[in-house]
């Protein structure tokens, strides 16, 4: 069999990868301490490895994986920017990493100060009045935000149950609405992904709880009618929810709070440089305007000018969203990032992110269909429409990029654009990196016309080829079995 052996195939009875000291307390037999029926009948069959073999196993696995540090990762809507190394180091300082969450606030003043200050920074960056750091992912933030909105309407004696979501939205938006017990009303976007004002006017009503929106939109374009949109939703008594996935485009330029949004979530693992971790841990803080503050999750961190406290006594709160205070270790990294960049730096981040996306677009539109005439924001969309004529699809182009050592852009999203290829370079990529990528993209466009089989059968140079995903789903093998 090709490929790398699993940890179970490498296991050999009698090996161990870490020595434990022998117990130094007087012991009794397990049966005298615990009822026999509660004791484990068959030990868990965990793998047995020596330390060198274990380290080689995981090192081999890491070599079969691609991260931002491996190369260019222009995955649209995911903001795969560089993860600064000092942030990794500071998050591991013992005062943070070894701090018990149930320490009394007196023993955790540094941590509480950091969380409290971070709330202030994010409120300033988004133009909101207060922030909770509890949600640990974007979707978790969405759920928190929608719960805040429900609680707000409920406190006013209104039972509003519908969330309006454009058809270009991230999948988490409607899914979060469902988990919040709300009904999703999908409205058709204009061809450029912007909100269709007429469709919005028809959709709003006395049952509208909120409109969920990201601006710039998922197509990377700024929603220029945002003030009218806010007006329409607010006039109907609904609130405006900002999906912060695309915040990297506008820091220091324009703020969701000033656009009329009432609730905002951010993704610290996108905009604020914390690692994606291969899918997590993330952090999805939520910001709100004044009128939603009473509903924020508990505990709320307070400051009397001298000491920081945890306030549990919040009768209107939606309650707790996380076992403790959110992904503190991730927040430490993002805090260090904001302190490193400052206001000027964050604005430069957005300017360079937008510059990079537009540069890619300008250099690629000769070779690929570019559906939108406008300048994009931090990400741009091209499509495989021209290549489709030769039987080459967006998926094939993505897979061919793997052969050239690039992580492909997001494909087939947003769903409203046929054969979409969504490129988000981020600001941490140099002109040389972008030029190299552009060159390869042109090459692939040429290959599509002259040697389509090469593209259709890609990748050729990766450790494995295209996977049989249908087989995986039809007969799921989701664990090791002897």
């Amino acid at each position: 069999m090709n490929g790398h052996l699993t940890v179970f195939e490498l296991s050999k009875p009698g090996r161990i990868a870490v020595d434990m000291p022998t117990s130094d307390v007087p012991e009794e037999s397990l049966e005298t301490l615990v009822k026999a029926e509660y004791l484990r009948s068959k030990p868990a069959q965990l793998p047995e490895m020596s330390q060198p073999d274990l380290v080689r196993h995981y090192t081999a696995l890491s070599n079969r994986n691609f991260g931002v540090d491996s190369g260019f990762y222009p995955l649209g809507s995911c903001t795969m920017k560089y993860n600064p190394k000092v942030n990794e180091d500071v998050s591991r300082y013992s005062g943070f990493a070894d701090l018990h969450p149930l320490s009394s606030p007196k023993e955790a003043q540094g941590a509480l100060e950091l969380l409290y200050t971070m709330e202030q920074y994010l409120a300033e960056i988004t133009g909101m009045d207060a922030v909770t750091m509890q949600p640990v992912a974007g979707a978790h933030g969405e759920l928190t935000g929608l719960k805040l909105i429900r609680a707000y309407h409920r406190a006013r004696g209104e039972n509003r149950t519908k969330v309006i979501v454009p058809d270009s939205a991230h999948g988490t938006n409607p899914a979060s609405a469902t988990v919040c017990g709300l009904e999703t009303v999908e409205i058709k976007s204009n061809p450029d992904g912007s909100i269709n004002l007429e469709a919005l006017k028809l959709a709003v009503g006395p049952d509208t709880a909120a409109l969920m929106l990201t601006n710039p939109s998922t197509l990377g374009l700024f929603e220029t009618h945002i003030q009218e949109i806010a007006q329409i939703v607010h006039d109907a008594g609904g609130l405006l929810y900002y999906d912060g996935a695309n915040m990297n485009a506008i820091m220091g330029v324009v703020r969701p709070g000033d656009m009329g949004f009432d609730v905002v979530h951010l993704n610290l693992h996108k905009t604020f440089s914390t690692p994606h971790g291969g899918g997590g841990p993330g952090s999805g803080p939520v910001g709100v305007k004044q009128n939603l503050i009473p509903f924020l999750p508990t505990p709320v961190i307070t400051y009397d000018g001298n000491q920081y406290y945890l306030d549990q006594d919040r009768p209107q709160s939606i309650g707790r969203m996380h076992s403790f205070y959110g992904n503190f270790g991730v927040i430490v990294r993002a805090y260090a990032y904001i302190r490193s960049m400052g206001a000027d730096g964050l604005r430069q981040v957005s300017e360079d992110a937008v510059l990079n996306a537009n540069y890619c677009l300008s250099q690629l539109k000769e070779h690929y269909h570019a559906p939108f005439e406008r300048n994009s924001k931090h990400e741009c969309i091209i499509t495989a429409q021209k290549q489709k004529a030769f039987g080459v699809r967006a998926l094939d182009i993505a897979k061919r990029l793997l052969d050239y050592g690039y992580h492909p852009p997001t494909i087939y999203f947003p769903m409203i654009v046929d054969e979409a290829i969504m490129i988000e370079p981020t600001e941490t990529e140099s002109k040389e990196t972008l030029d190299g990528f552009i060159e390869v993209m042109r090459k692939i466009a040429h290959e599509a016309e002259t040697d389509e089989a090469k593209v259709q059968q890609a990748p050729h140079s990766t450790v494995v080829g295209r996977m049989d995903e249908a087989q995986a789903a039809r007969k799921p093998v989701v664990r090791w079995k002897d």
Partner: protein, 448 residues
């Protein structure tokens, strides 16, 4: 000014603007209505250099009292276990931590395989057939389990053991509130679920019973009997467990649990002031397609190689949108990787030994403390690595005294349950030495 994370020089920016056909980057923002644009810079402190950032964060960190400085006898869902050195070294490999979700399997085989191995080990440990690739934490994993049980059973009533971690209960209530889910508490008797009361409260409309074992008070619940009571009424048993306990305690799957969840922080993750932690989620094959979160499956590639992919994605939000089984997208993959490293580093014998030492040391501590005048056992039920004691003094006062001696004392249970005023929940992991335990007993004697 130059920022080390931003590569562009002034010349680069000029060349790029020229290539786009604009004079300056300002033009790229011209579609934003002027009235909305910020007139002045954000009010944030000025940027710091790398050494300054390190110094500032170091100051903040040192304003906390960590378990590196204190001898920790505090638990309550966050535990001071030893983390093998291999864990931090492997987790520092940025091919892992700087990657996104494994949507391109050809260049994500390493992570996919590691997560598949994690799923295998969690399944094995819990005695369940399948596990997902992680949830946010113990509390949210439990809330998702309740939602899944309601959806699978098409019922909406959840019975919750009164010995559940109070924070998990709060998270559950927050999640349940906007769902058509009703939460009914089953009061405890002698620190465990009152099985008689449970028998009276359950009926055919009950979707599931939620029970934590060892529970928040430290006591081991009778999962087998609770499972029997649940199944007799067509309800599911959801068990929230401490994974370390499963080195010596019976796997909940063997005892009849339908869903097993819990907090995986014990499996090689730091305390981190409460996060990032790891929710684990395991269930039976029957419910695999109703599970929330990402799942890695084994398959083959077009060259005949074994390989791994994210599978059963038709359950998930990016495909099913408002019909998805959950809204979860980002999870805690890196924490799952840490847990996989932890479990494979300790292996079959080491894992059991850690578990055994927790049990032995906790019982030694229990004997030492309950021998003191002014300190008695709160309950008679069996326990694992945490137990409750009753003092005649304020727990806060005792903890203040202990802190002066460099000891992080137990949790004040009166803060959660008014009827347990003067009760302390003590946690003893394998890291505590006899000397530390004896010191705790000496200081306690002086304080109570």
């Amino acid at each position: 000014m130059a920022w080390s994370y931003l590569p562009h020089t002034r010349e680069d920016r000029e060349l790029m603007c020229k290539a786009i056909g604009i004079r300056s980057t300002e033009e790229l923002f011209s579609d934003i209505p002027v009235s909305l644009r910020l007139a002045s810079p954000l009010k944030l402190p000025p940027s710091l250099s790398e050494p300054e950032v390190a110094r500032h964060l170091s100051e903040l960190a040192s304003a906390n009292k960590s378990v590196r400085e204190l001898v920790c006898f505090r638990g309550g869902g966050a535990y001071d276990h030893y983390i093998p050195s291999v864990a931090s070294h492997i987790l520092s490999r940025s091919e892992f931590y700087s990657a996104y979700t494994q949507y391109q399997p050809e260049i994500s085989q390493g992570y996919l395989q590691a997560l598949w191995e994690y799923q295998s080990m969690i399944s094995e440990l819990t005695g369940m057939e399948v596990a997902n690739a992680s949830m946010y934490d113990g509390g949210t994993a439990l809330a998702e389990a309740a939602m899944m049980a309601c959806a699978a059973g098409k019922k909406d009533k959840i019975l919750v053991g009164g010995t559940l971690h109070p924070h998990y209960r709060e998270v559950l209530v927050t999640y349940a509130r906007d769902q058509a889910m009703s939460i009914i508490d089953v009061p405890p008797l002698d620190g465990i679920i009152d099985l008689d009361r449970l028998g009276w409260l359950i009926d055919e409309t009950t979707a599931a019973i939620i029970v934590q074992s060892p529970n928040f008070l430290g006591n081991i619940e009778n999962l087998k009997e609770i499972g029997r009571i649940a199944h007799a009424k067509g309800a599911f048993l959801i068990a929230s467990v401490d994974p370390i306990s499963l080195g010596v305690l019976e796997a909940p799957g063997v005892l009849g649990a339908d869903i097993v969840v819990g907090e995986g922080q014990s499996l090689g993750l730091g305390l981190n002031f409460g996060g990032p932690y790891l929710g684990f989620f395991a269930t039976t094959e029957k419910f695999m397609r109703k599970m929330p979160g990402r799942i890695v499956g084994q398959t083959t590639d077009n060259r005949g190689n074994r390989g791994f992919v994210l599978t059963l994605q038709a359950r998930e939000q990016h495909i099913r949108r408002n019909k998805a089984t959950s809204n979860i997208c980002s999870n805690e993959a890196l924490c799952a990787l840490a847990a996989a490293i932890y479990m494979s580093a300790l292996g079959k014998t080491g894992f059991r030994e850690v578990s055994r030492q927790c049990l032995q040391k906790a019982h030694y501590t229990y004997s030492s403390l309950t021998a003191l005048t002014g300190c008695e056992a709160a309950f008679t039920s069996g326990f694992f690595k945490e137990f409750s004691i009753k003092l005649q003094k304020s727990v806060t006062k005792v903890n203040e005294g202990l802190l002066e001696k460099g000891i992080l004392g137990g949790i004040d249970l009166g803060g959660y349950y008014p009827e347990l005023e003067h009760h302390m929940l003590i946690c003893v992991t394998e890291k505590r030495t006899k000397e530390e335990i004896d010191q705790l007993a000496r200081e306690m004697e002086a304080l109570i």
